[in-house]
């Protein structure tokens, strides 16, 4: 029975049932579902379960191994935290969409073949877009449509790749794929879109900061980490991922420094953190893959915590712009403290979760001799401390007091943040239980004198740099602005090109019509000239003239005949 039910279905079916329940019971019911799911995962045995035959193909809805389990556990935990955080919500659309979305992501993690993966992949897109549309403005409608178009596009690529791969290898099993074949490349791009590879990334920064307060917390956990899981399964050891990942860790931090919307700053840092995992997958050694999986696990928790704290700020003050915030530590001290725990975790301070996970990827890069990737990751570690570790708490809770006097975050939000913070510290202090969940045996020791001292040096001097820049007035102020990113191509350039193309066509049409009119006018004019009243051909001629014409014609004929 346990192994006859794909874990994702618990949440998907649960989301349908919850529609029928009265509001009070619905919340409790939703809260119990992820707990049931986690319990189920503890009971599963490794192997392939729930296989169904469809059109000669075997679909595997439940494949259990260590890689799928570690993502399964963290997805259920993230779902539970998000549900607690959204406890006060009365909006049925968000509740159902959030639950079904989490279920779809979990379903995808346990899918053993590419077709089932595709189905759940698309389901995550269709369910999650409602968390953006639930803002219920024209703006959110447009953003949701852009988001949906790109997400569904990724799914279409995945299905196309799967079909090509089926043709090439005669199998749809979701195992290692590699980029040696056309099908492999198509699927690689499909995964790359959801993992927010450089130049394919901008849907992330476009949509996540614009979802509802609670919706963003759901969104931050699933879609991108599902892509990380899929890359780890299908493309471990693909060297190009090291360079893609290195670029991913570096370029978003420049945007994060100048971005004003603090939830968008967090989205850029999400993008940067995904880069670390992508590098780990690209290196592909046991240490690196353990690093990628454990970093995904830790990342989901601290990123959710940071989005929750910024969501609480938005919920209470009505704004999330750095330029309009400051001094909130007086009104929201608990949120401030919890946010700082999230900030310390993402920055990789000793005793916090990032320290014991990110360092595995850095060590793996160094051990394999990728000095350039290692240096970029080190730079990105200092950079992430700058924008997520310092900028977020500093501009929201300290900086200049903007006079917001609001209440502390609602108790359910504080409980969710508290649980996430406790897990961040627990992993940082005692990483062994997390290490035991990882795909390969762990021989890595995070707490060595050298590691602690060097990490503290890096972070303390990065903080010193921030302090010096602030005191000298060189730090760029928070400004109300839009910063151009790759979405400029499809939000500005493409519509402009289409508009000018349409205008060209209409001008060409006008010109052709004008020529047509001129042509018709010319023909009519000529016809009128020869056939109109009083014209040459319409004149009445005397009979003698006709006889003379016939005479000349016949005379000419005779001459030609005799010659």
């Amino acid at each position: 029975m346990i192994e006859a039910t794909p874990p994702g279905l618990i949440l998907i079916v649960g989301s349908f049932i919850s529609v029928l329940l009265p509001a009070r019971i619905r919340n409790v019911f939703m809260l119990l579902l992820p707990i049931m799911g986690i319990w189920q995962l503890t009971q599963l045995t490794h192997g392939l379960h729930v296989q169904i035959e469809l059109f000669d193909q075997t679909l595997t809805l439940l494949r259990v191994d260590k890689l799928s389990l570690v993502f399964g556990y963290i997805f259920f935990i993230a779902a539970e935290l998000s549900i607690i955080y959204a406890w006060h919500i009365k909006d049925l659309v968000q509740q159902v969409a959030g639950l079904a979305y989490a279920g779809a992501a979990i379903g995808a993690v346990f899918a053993g073949d590419l077709v089932s993966l595709f189905v759940f992949w698309e389901l995550t897109a269709i369910t999650s877009v409602f968390l953006i549309w639930a803002v219920r403005t024209d703006r959110s409608l447009k953003i949701g449509l852009r988001y949906l178009l790109i997400q569904v596009g990724s799914g279409v690529l995945l299905l196309t790749g799967a079909l090509v791969l089926r043709h090439e290898t005669n199998s749809i099993a979701f195992e290692h794929i590699g980029i040696e074949s056309l099908g492999g490349i198509l699927i690689f791009i499909a995964f790359g879109i959801k993992a927010a590879f450089p130049l394919l990334h901008n849907w992330l920064q476009d949509s996540y900061p614009e979802a509802t307060v609670t919706g963003t917390v759901f969104l931050s956990a699933f879609t991108t980490k599902l892509a990380i899981y899929a890359l780890a399964r299908g493309y471990a050891g693909t060297e190009i991922l090291i360079w893609i990942g290195a670029v991913m860790t570096a370029f978003p931090i420049f945007f994060a420094v100048i971005e004003n919307n603090l939830r968008r700053v967090l989205t850029y840092s999400l993008n940067n953190q995904l880069g670390f995992m992508v590098v780990g997958i690209g290196i592909g050694t046991e240490l690196a893959l353990n690093g990628a999986a454990s970093h995904a696990f830790a990342h989901i928790l601290y990123k959710a915590l940071l989005f929750m704290s910024m969501g609480a700020v938005l919920f209470r003050t009505g704004t999330i712009n750095g330029s309009e915030l400051g001094g909130l530590y007086k009104s929201m001290p608990w949120t401030t403290g919890l946010c700082i725990i999230g900030a310390a975790s993402i920055s990789g301070f000793p005793l916090f979760s990032g320290f014991v996970t990110k360092s595995m990827i850095l060590t793996a890069a160094a051990e394999e001799g990728y000095w350039m990737a290692w240096a970029v990751l080190l730079f990105a570690s200092a950079g992430v401390f700058h924008h997520s570790g310092i900028k977020i708490p500093f501009f929201a809770f300290f900086a200049h007091d903007q006079g917001h006097r609001v209440r502390e975050a609602p108790i359910n939000m504080l409980v969710a943040m508290g649980l996430a913070a406790a897990l961040c510290i627990a992993i940082g202090v005692y990483p062994e239980p997390l290490y035991a969940l990882l795909p390969y045996p762990v021989n890595y020791v995070p707490y060595t004198t050298a590691h602690v001292v060097t990490m503290l040096q890096l972070l303390a001097f990065a903080a010193l740099a921030f302090a010096v820049l602030m005191r000298t007035g060189l730090y760029p102020p928070e400004l109300r602005s839009t910063n151009l990113d790759t979405d400029w191509f499809y939000r500005h350039l493409a519509p402009k090109l289409v508009r000018s193309f349409v205008q060209c066509l209409s001008e060409l049409g006008d010109e052709l019509a004008r020529w047509g009119q001129m042509g018709v006018g010319f023909i009519l004019g000529r016809a009128f000239q020869y056939h109109g009243p009083g014209s040459w051909l319409a004149r009445t001629w005397p009979i003698g003239g006709s006889a003379l014409c016939v005479l000349i014609l016949l005379g000419g004929y005779l001459i030609v005949y005799f010659i």
Binding site: K330, W371, G383, H386, A460, F461, A462, A467, R480, T482
Partner: protein, 87 residues
């Protein structure tokens, strides 16, 4: 009494006092100094030559952080547009 006044207890916080931020800054400087010198007191196990450099991580952290912020600031010249640019 409005909601705003009720929520503002009016108490001056330690951070609001002039000089408090200076104290934090100098403590940070002290911590940095201690950490920099700490390099002399443990055995390194580096993967790369450059890590042998005294205070490498400290220098790397400072230099690249300043570089990051200043270059991001310059990027604003090219990337910054009005808030309603796409509307």
């Amino acid at each position: 009494m409005t909601d705003h006044e009720k929520l503002d207890d009016g108490a001056k916080r330690w951070l609001d006092r002039p000089g408090s931020v200076d104290i934090i800054f100098w403590i940070l400087c002290l911590v940095c100094g201690v950490l920099f010198l700490a390099d002399a007191f443990y055995v390194k196990h580096p993967h790369f030559e450059v890590e042998y450099l005294f205070g490498f991580y400290a220098l790397f952290g400072f230099v690249f952080s300043v570089g990051l912020v200043l270059s991001a600031k310059e990027l604003r010249r090219f990337l910054k547009r009005g808030e309603d640019y796409y509307d």
